[in-house]
């Protein structure tokens, strides 16, 4: 069988596949360069390149379940590539002599792990999304656990001193203070937390700053991160029910707005406090 007969040519800028599409083929790049990119808003961010002679999308050979692409593959210049059906590629491997099969499967496994590690490092470095889906569970789990442990019980709420809380989360969990603040704004907008503003210590005439956070219903934060974790890792009808949970829908919608706008507006009660005191 001459698989090179299937050689396809694409012009610069053409999409070979897009994120979210079913991964049914892998490609051997014969000439040209392919960019692996993620799309954020109207921007396309290049993560890495695939050069001639290399296989494009080899990760899908490792996973036996149906997979979708996590990134876009765009021709950086005119490219020639040979598409290979994933099922066919797997059957070629399966038909190989046992020793060779052991070798190829080990190579496929290594390629999968190294690709995952390298891509995640690139995404972490280049992704401008303020709260990408991979960060959500951890961010809200940190909020919950740090508040549950360091917060003081007051009128049925857990109250934390913001400056100390932020520092604790950063030092103990390596969580970004800006991201934490935005997540707290989301909880305040949804009535799960209340923000208490205080005069600025260094400039009493300056605008007030966040002094205390009152977590009115911390259990909701726990439920959200647990739901999010299940939804991110799970499949099937149970996940669909969980994704329809009103609490999940509300917080997820706020996170989506945050990712689109780049920031979360301070909730109205806190900004009203701020302007009243300023007046």
């Amino acid at each position: 069988m001459d698989h090179n007969a299937d050689l396809i040519t694409l012009n610069r800028g053409a999409a070979i596949f897009k994120a979210g599409e079913a991964a049914t083929q892998v490609y051997i790049l014969r000439s040209g360069l392919v960019s692996l990119c993620i799309t954020r808003g109207d921007k396309m961010i290049e993560l890495m390149k695939v050069s001639p002679g290399q296989m494009l999308g080899a990760e899908v050979l490792h996973d036996h379940s149906a997979m979708t692409w996590d990134y876009d593959a765009i021709a950086s210049n005119d490219v020639e590539l040979v598409p290979i059906d994933v099922k066919a590629a797997r059957s070629w491997i399966e038909c190989s002599p046992p020793l060779l099969k052991l070798f190829i499967s080990a190579l496929v496994a290594k390629n999968f792990e190294v690709a995952r590690e390298t891509l995640s490092l690139h995404v972490r470095q280049k992704d401008p999304m303020p709260c990408s889906p991979s960060r959500v569970t951890r961010l809200f789990a940190v909020l919950y656990h740090a508040a549950a442990y360091t917060g003081a019980e007051k009128n049925g709420a857990k109250v934390v001193v913001w400056s100390a809380f932020r520092k604790y989360c950063q030092r103990s969990f390596l969580e970004s203070p800006v991201r934490l603040e935005q997540a707290v704004f989301i909880l305040a907008r949804l009535g799960i937390a209340r923000l208490e503003m205080i005069p600025c210590e260094t400039d009493p005439d300056g605008p007030e700053e966040l002094g205390f956070v009152h977590f009115l219903d911390l259990e909701k934060v726990r439920r959200f991160y647990e739901l999010n974790q299940k939804i991110c890792s799970g499949k099937g009808s149970e996940t669909i029910n969980e994704a329809a949970d009103p609490l999940y829908v509300a917080i997820a919608a706020e996170i989506e707005k945050w990712n689109v706008a780049g920031k979360v507006e301070m909730p109205s009660h806190a900004s009203a406090d701020k302007s009243r005191k300023a007046g």
């Binding site: 001459d2 494009l56 002599p97 020793l99 499967s105 792990e113 030092r171 103990s172």
Partner: protein, 418 residues
């Protein structure tokens, strides 16, 4: 390194070096169980490039041409690797149809490119096995996960925790996105220092017991506090001499014969001359000013002049706490120097080689053979081992009694019938 003639399985203990820079690679290694660390030596720093687990491979490029190895590969857990002589693979590749050959070659090219990119990335980061940024985090995650999935028990001021081991690992990985390998190594340190114990009950449930949650929390506060403040990096390095002086100071604080007095706040008062003399006799080469140099490590000693030679005072509790922090910190330093944590005595329970072997079997089982190159299906078992059956230790094919080498993969048959 001379090329082996046949496929062998090799067992490596934690710390065993499989390959070092300059080695000529003569085999492809496939990890069967355990974990290998791939490191780059950068002067005194050992940068961790990646970790390999079953069924990943190493040295695969040798199948396509000679290779001189430039990294260090160390077993960071007890590991079993299958060693395939490099000369065996090209022959087999040559015998495959052109499309399979193309697939293998392009896969190898991609793997090579990805690995070199990862190497540059990790090298730029200078990431050690437990990077400074992550040190407080890994212990904080153990602390908070224990609080979340474990049972806490108050015993006076001390609080202990017991948690199911697998649940602890799962929670830390899924919720806090902490690397299982790093968490496991940190727990091994706690076990080594006697801060934690590991047990397996009659039903086979594995549990971790942490004696003092306070010790964990104090270390997180100490490391996180100094590391993120900036300008205090010196405080996060242990010094054998300073540790010895601090130990001796704590000993003297308990020595009432020397005239040590402790007030209600825990401040120890010692007669200056007697204390310095006692330290001089206990620590060779000790000079009085060294006691005051403890300040550089965050410990404060005060000297007040009196008519009878002066009084030394310090907060005993701080000294004891700092000693505990330094003990833990020293273990983290050794971890970063070696790239692995030497397992605690009872760690065999933590690392279940049987389980990892089972995982590998499962992975192999997924690659169901349709037909071998010879046309017939190779006899690879996927079900449980039957009574009296002999399996090849490498490819798990069924072998005949008294057979010396496996018909399928050529490995030496060592296993006895079940």
């Amino acid at each position: 390194m001379s090329e082996p003639k046949k496929i062998e399985t090799r067992t490596l203990q934690t710390g065993d070096v499989l390959l070092k820079p300059g080695d000529r690679v003569t085999s492809v290694y496939v990890v069967q169980s355990g974990r290998l660390g791939v490191f780059q030596n950068r002067g005194e720093q050992l940068v961790e490039i990646t970790q390999l687990t079953a069924p990943e491979c190493l040295g695969e490029e040798v199948a396509f041409g000679p290779q001189v190895w430039s990294l260090q590969v160390t077993a960071i857990r007890p590991t079993v690797v299958v060693e395939i002589p490099a000369s065996m693979i090209p022959e087999q590749i040559k015998a495959t149809p052109p499309h399979t050959r193309d697939l293998i070659k392009s896969l190898n090219e991609r793997s090579k490119a990805l690995f070199s990119e990862l190497r540059v990335f990790r090298g730029d980061q200078g990431a050690t096995a437990c990077p400074a940024d992550e040190t407080a985090k890994v212990f904080a995650i153990i602390f908070h996960t224990l609080r979340s999935v474990g049972q806490l028990e108050k015993n006076g001021e001390n609080e202990s925790a017991t948690a199911p081991w697998r649940e602890l690992l799962r929670f830390a990985r899924d919720i806090f996105q902490e690397s299982e390998a790093r968490l496991e190594s940190a727990v091994q340190i706690l076990i080594r220092l006697g801060y934690a114990t590991f047990s397996k009950d009659a039903a086979g449930a594995e549990k971790i017991f942490v004696r003092s949650m306070r010790t964990l929390e104090d270390f997180v506060d100490y490391y996180g506090g100094y590391h993120f403040k900036g300008g205090y990096s010196n405080l996060l390095k242990t010094n054998a001499k300073m540790t010895r002086i601090t130990e001796e100071a704590v000993k003297l604080a308990n020595n009432s014969e020397l005239g040590a007095k402790v007030d209600r706040a825990g401040v120890v008062y010692l007669p200056y001359k007697a204390a310095i003399d006692a330290m001089k006799s206990a620590i060779p080469g000790f000079e009085a000013d060294q006691l005051f140099r403890l300040e550089q490590k965050g410990l404060f000693v005060k000297r007040v002049a009196t008519n009878d030679g002066g009084v030394l005072s310090f907060l005993k509790m701080d000294f004891e706490q700092m000693l505990r922090n330094w003990t833990l910190l020293r273990e983290v330093e050794i971890w970063n120097e070696a790239g692995y944590v030497q397992p605690a005595q009872d760690l065999s329970v933590v690392l279940d080689p049987k389980m990892e072997r089972e995982r590998f079997k499962q992975l192999l089982a997924h690659w169901k053979p349709i037909a071998s190159a010879a046309g017939g299906p190779p006899k690879i078992r996927t079900g449980p081992k039957k009574m009296g059956e002999i399996w090849c230790g490498v490819c798990m094919s069924v072998c005949k009694p008294k057979q010396k080498n496996c018909e399928v993969c050529g490995a030496e048959i060592k296993s006895e019938a079940a």
